[in-house]
Symmetry: C2
Subunit: 151 residues, 2 copies
DNA sequence: CAATTTAGTTAGCTATGCTAACGATTCTGC
DNA sequence: GCAGAATCGTTAGCATAGCTAACTAAATTG
């Protein structure tokens, strides 16, 4: 029943839209990535830190690994780097196996500065749009977020 | 400490829009990235290969490095991996310093398969939308492409 | 209380980013 | 035409970031 539909996906409008979206996302981030180097913190560390700072409080290592779609050993090393740099603090939990990871004041500051730098370039590009276009863009980002939830 | 007046960008609507967009792009690609592992080719190699296959023909190493926003030594090694895997061929040019990099038939095939896999997941998510929403999404991508050109 | 399950770490491999330093080739000034 | 400068790419060496396999420590279960 869905055979026809799934075959038609390949060259159909949804596929073309997806391809354009995919390409746009790649090019967008490739441009912004450059500004991250100014922070002196690697991309994976910065991304993990952002979960701790913006994602609503402390997490365990496993939760962090899942949020970042990375295996536990990888996250273990990323966190080790963050702790060494004084950006994250380890704490104990009731469950002796788990660790409680929390951003330090320094970590929070560094992340927000980096995030500001990144988004600044993008905001400049966006602010050259008319108010109407900006509003439209805002509404359509909601749509994008919906797409992502469906992934 | 902060002169808010000089840059109204900071807390303004354009900044918030940019932040949401930034976040959405990150999450979108993080999900799609998973499917790239099936190709057995690393992300940087895959991305460089895509320039050769989709970007309109052969390039020099320096051009490829610039397209990928990477330093020449990095691209040199990425290309070495692609050549070793039989996905890219080196050729000579009139200028004896430059190399001519071209995707092989195998490289073209692998890239297109990978791209299809990537975009397929996204297309499925998109195709669950109504026609109207899909049209809106198309408009968003147009705006997005404009933003990227302004970066 | 022994066996299993779960959380995190360690070890070791590959890939990807950088800078510095080096050849090889081409271009330039005289 | 040839010496010096500029350009292109590579090599070497370092750090980060991804993986699997194998390990330790703690909690849960039977």
């Amino acid at each position: 029943m869905t055979d026809v539909k799934s075959k038609r996906l390949l060259g159909g409008p949804a596929f073309l839209t997806a391809d354009r979206l995919h390409s746009a996302a790649i090019h967008l981030l490739r441009r912004l990535r450059v500004r991250d180097r100014e922070s002196g913190v690697g991309p994976a560390q910065l991304s993990a830190l952002s979960v701790l700072v913006l994602g609503g409080g402390p997490r365990s290592l496993g939760e962090l690994a899942e949020a970042e779609q990375v295996r536990p050993p990888t996250m273990s090393r990323i966190v080790a780097g963050l702790v060494r740099a004084g950006l994250v603090r380890r704490g104990k939990t009731e469950d002796g196996r788990r660790v409680r990871l929390e951003a330090t004041a320094k970590g929070t500051k560094i992340l927000q500065q980096g995030r500001r730098r990144r988004v600044e370039s993008l905001a400049k590009a966006v602010s050259s749009f008319s108010d109407k276009e900006q509003q439209q863009l805002g509404e359509l980002i909601g749509l994008l977020q919906q797409v992502i939830r469906n992934l």
